[in-house]
Symmetry: C2
Subunit: 340 residues, 2 copies
DNA sequence: AAACAATGTTGGAACGTTCCATCATTGTCT
DNA sequence: AGACAATGATGGAACGTTCCAACATTGTTT
């Protein structure tokens, strides 16, 4: 079986000839601008359908000297937060006729440099960096050439970048406040001191504890963003003498590690130990886990980023200020009042 | 703060002038083809760096009348299988200088039609459909216009499509054979009869049981691909009289539901009940879950799809036959020999 | 020495659009 | 009636590349 005969695609001139008009009229009809008589308009529409005409995006980009394309650079497709954020981005950009061009920073052979080069060659009108990127001269340079938004990163690479992200500090306070309201006082934190989110969430934890007059109970054990790290930290926390009645973990994965450790220490959740996580991943929803977790408004963040971008594309616009989005708390079965 | 002064980007003519050569020489140097003297070559390279010249992709696409771009249509960015597959695709396409243009079918307002239109306008050289797409006339039409590969779907939309996917039948047999080797005989299956993967995996389960002379123990309970469905089915399975000693679930989520149900029925895993899943999702790796699961070679599938595509792009190539990739089994703590 | 191949270099045409200045027709206001 | 605005239609120039035919120079074979 061979490939089907693929003849040269119809161009605007073919359409013009078929409709008996000039190429300019076809162009006007297609773009919906200018004045065209009803008769010619329908003739053109007819010819377009007839010939299966599709405008050539490359030629259009060249003619308009703009691409209607936004570059989106991910650093981890696997992170559910990023996925939602990209969906939010996409939905809003689509409405405005902007196309997204996605790529994965890490996947790229030369650590993203070649990806960025490709995107810039495509004449992208804006750049969205999703997640925290490693330092890279190419990134900093790219950010200076096109309006750039860092989505879900605590800070952007260099100047000319607007950051849209979740308020990790506020989210942590939300979770801790929930535990306090339940009656907990001995609330420990499993942190991830090596990461930006880890630092912000710890700050929120400590602030809320202090605000509630529980400064003396502040206790942070270093872990990381993985189940393994949470497990290790929790074992340390639960094996000691004055063990906490509640743990706020830096994210859901770490919280899972805490749950495992609690099980190993024969502590029932939530009867003996309340556990709260962060990110509200699909994991937290699972019946076997049912984890109270802070929900980051990632879809909304993506949408907001798109709005800022669109505004930034207007001529004469200025660099908008950074934005922090307020998260919410999803209460599930892993938190309850401590027993007396 | 206003946008930084953005002057008109340098073109190939600017480079040619700066290097004291004709535009043709610059073009030859940039593409690395043809004969150019060493002196002029270095002069051009110098000028390129000097001016920060970046070739314009739209102009290049127009001139070459090809785009070096492959359209990738996802139907669910959240599915880890798809993510790995896309990573595999990307890695191989990148090596060959092909750019990926991704989009989400469902996210698109007009159910993918406008996404496909955009992709075709971009003159994509090939199309990769990742996951099972809903029927759509636009999809069928698109597949006829460019070489198309359906990745991870049991069947492609219409003609001219090559399917690259995992051998679900073989995977199911792998899991069941493992359980049989452990000594289980009463092995039940929690299925998902409404889905294509569900049907294939059930077929594998039954085939392996019959091959081992265990036809009389074949027992399938209908569920679906969710935790909820697995839970419901498992409750039915475990509450009855002659309950199985092992369960093979249609996927990891359903297996999780089985685990929950076992817990509720006070059955220890794996002592009282072995459980195997399918997909080897990150979930299965979690310490609290430690699920034996069939690993689908999704990264490899992506790579293979890319190879087929590249071959298909050669002039005079023919439609390659469908390919099934053989999965492997990841044995973890949820399966063990039945007690006597 | 002539013929030919290999190596360098060039400018013009093409790619398929949009943009723009121009022109034609009609209707409306003074 | 004349001036002007609104509507309608046009062809040529741009956009920034690649492609190609043609021409120059050198080295090698007959």
């Amino acid at each position: 079986m061979t490939a089907p005969e693929r003849k040269r695609a119809a161009t605007i001139l073919d359409v013009a000839a078929a409709a008996g008009v000039s190429k300019s009229v076809v162009s006007l009809v297609l773009r919906g601008t200018g004045y065209v008589s009803a008769a010619k308009r329908t003739a053109v529409e007819h010819a377009v359908l007839e010939l299966g005409y599709r405008p050539n995006a490359a030629a259009r980009a060249l003619g308009e000297s703009r691409s209607r394309t936004v570059g989106v650079v991910l650093n981890d497709m696997r992170n559910p937060w990023f996925v939602s954020a990209v969906e939010g981005l996409n939905s809003t950009l689509n409405e405005r006729g902007l196309q997204m061009l996605m790529g994965d920073f890490r996947l790229d052979s030369r650590s993203g440099e070649s990806l960025l080069k490709k995107l810039l060659e495509m004449n992208i009108e804006a750049l969205v960096l999703v997640g925290t990127m490693p330092e890279s001269p190419g990134l900093t340079a790219a950010a200076l050439q096109v309006p750039t938004i860092a989505l879900g990163a605590p800070t952007g690479p260099g100047a000319n970048v607007t950051v849209v992200t979740n308020d990790d500090d506020a989210g942590a306070r939300l979770a801790v406040a929930h535990l306090i309201a339940l009656g907990h006082r001995r609330i420990a934190h499993v942190g991830a001191p090596a990461t930006a989110v880890g630092i912000a969430r710890r700050r929120g934890y400590e602030a809320e504890m202090r605000a509630a007059g529980l400064a003396e109970f502040i206790r942070t054990v270093p872990g990381d963003l993985s189940e393994e790290g949470g497990h290790r930290a929790a074992l340390e926390l639960l094996s000691g003498g004055d063990r906490p009645t509640a743990v706020f973990a830096v994210n859901d994965m770490a919280a899972l590690g805490v749950l495992s450790a609690a099980e190993e220490c024969r502590l029932a959740v939530p009867a003996d130990l309340s556990v709260a996580g962060y990110d509200n991943t699909p994991l937290a929803r699972l019946r076997r886990i049912s984890l109270t977790s802070v929900d980051t408004a990632s879809f909304a963040a993506g949408q907001r980023a798109a709005e800022l971008l669109i505004a930034r594309l207007e001529p004469g616009s200025t660099l908008p200020p950074d934005e922090l989005l307020v998260p919410t708390l999803e209460v599930r079965g892993s938190t309850a009042a401590p027993h007396a």
